[in-house]
Symmetry: C2
Subunit: 226 residues, 2 copies
Amino acid sequence: MPLNNPTRTAPVTTADKIFEQMQHAIVEGKIPAGSKISEPELAKQYQVSRSTLREALNRLEKCHLVERKANIGSRVVDCTIQGLLELYITREALEGMACRQAALNITNDEIVDMQAMLQRHSQSPALQDGVSYYQEQGDLDFHYKVILASHNQQLINLICGQLYHLVRMYRCQFGMNSPRATRAFDEHSHIIQAIADRDGELAEILMRRHIAASRINIESKILKIK
Amino acid sequence: MPLNNPTRTAPVTTADKIFEQMQHAIVEGKIPAGSKISEPELAKQYQVSRSTLREALNRLEKCHLVERKANIGSRVVDCTIQGLLELYITREALEGMACRQAALNITNDEIVDMQAMLQRHSQSPALQDGVSYYQEQGDLDFHYKVILASHNQQLINLICGQLYHLVRMYRCQFGMNSPRATRAFDEHSHIIQAIADRDGELAEILMRRHIAASRINIESKILKIK
DNA sequence: AACCGACGAATTGTCGACAATTTAAATGGA
DNA sequence: TCCATTTAAATTGTCGACAATTCGTCGGTT
């Protein structure tokens, strides 16, 4: 999984690189959720000083992938059902508002870009050459574009810089690369339409429904497993 | 200004203490907004090692009071009008949802507690022994209680742990300890009523209106200054 | 047998020094 | 005088070592 993110900046310092490596490892579960992090051990494993590793840990803490207690240590966050539901509720609030702001602030160029993206998506998954691809990458692409179109730096940083790392982690660990593709496509389409029409109120409502539907879909899947 | 925060934990390590001191200094403008931070200078000033100061800087970065660029250094965020409006839009989204969740998840004890708080507020500002007190502390008290009542850890962390430090900073630097107290009181009252009635939809709408009104009020004040 | 306290090992927090990068000044040429 | 290049100073990033705290073990007491 490429793990691209619009707010991502090229890693320049070694702490940046360790941060990205650990981020991948945590999202994909190679460093297990809920596990304790041993600074000396990981420092040796990644071949860096403990200071550098701590720097990386600090950034992981910033995007809520690890939690640290004073004099106790760091733990990877654990993926609970309640945490997942809370995350989706938060997304509903933030992305709903981002969608409303997008309807107000989007540029014409961005509208063209989003419609082109939708066009691509309408063909790719129909060919069935990878439903999972659509769901994973295409869905994130769509949401990222909407958020960026809000032109609200506060919202962009919160959602892309913090929340979405957790979203990826949950998707990965709970194995949610599943369908809902066609319905999601229609919903994406309607949302873009509302944004293009500059109808902020409708755009927000549709986005909130879209995320809520996704939450309920996931909820039922989890209940099925249990 | 006491700067109390429900998510605040007692500072145990020295980095904690430096963090709190700098937090106060930034919020109150003693370390000017937008200014560059010299690690060696501040380390000497606070009588700590540069590592410890960097640890404090990392936490300030977590609550969006400081921004750091690799190999360049740290700057205090600067207070712009656009930033303020973006912050209020974000609050509208998050606290609106928190208010809806509060209506769903609040306990009876918490309802009693909130009503008692409202009772206190109804008397204190009427006595005019400190309108600024009401606006500063009382208003924050109210919002904190609503957020905590949501019982959504994700929302609580985001709003109390990050957003509200910025809110305090803007209030302080733009000198917003001003009235709007009586209208705000009525709005608080209606919101609590909706929560007590377990009417999530209404509670969210009222909270969003409340914050939007506050934003517009501030907007007009700023325009007056210019 | 269960509980409490002391001791030792391991982990985290803090420090100062060195390396790498950026910023500023200084030098030289057009 | 202005601009480009080089050089020096300052700042940030990284490292290893020491101090402080926590965790686990052991022994003793009730």
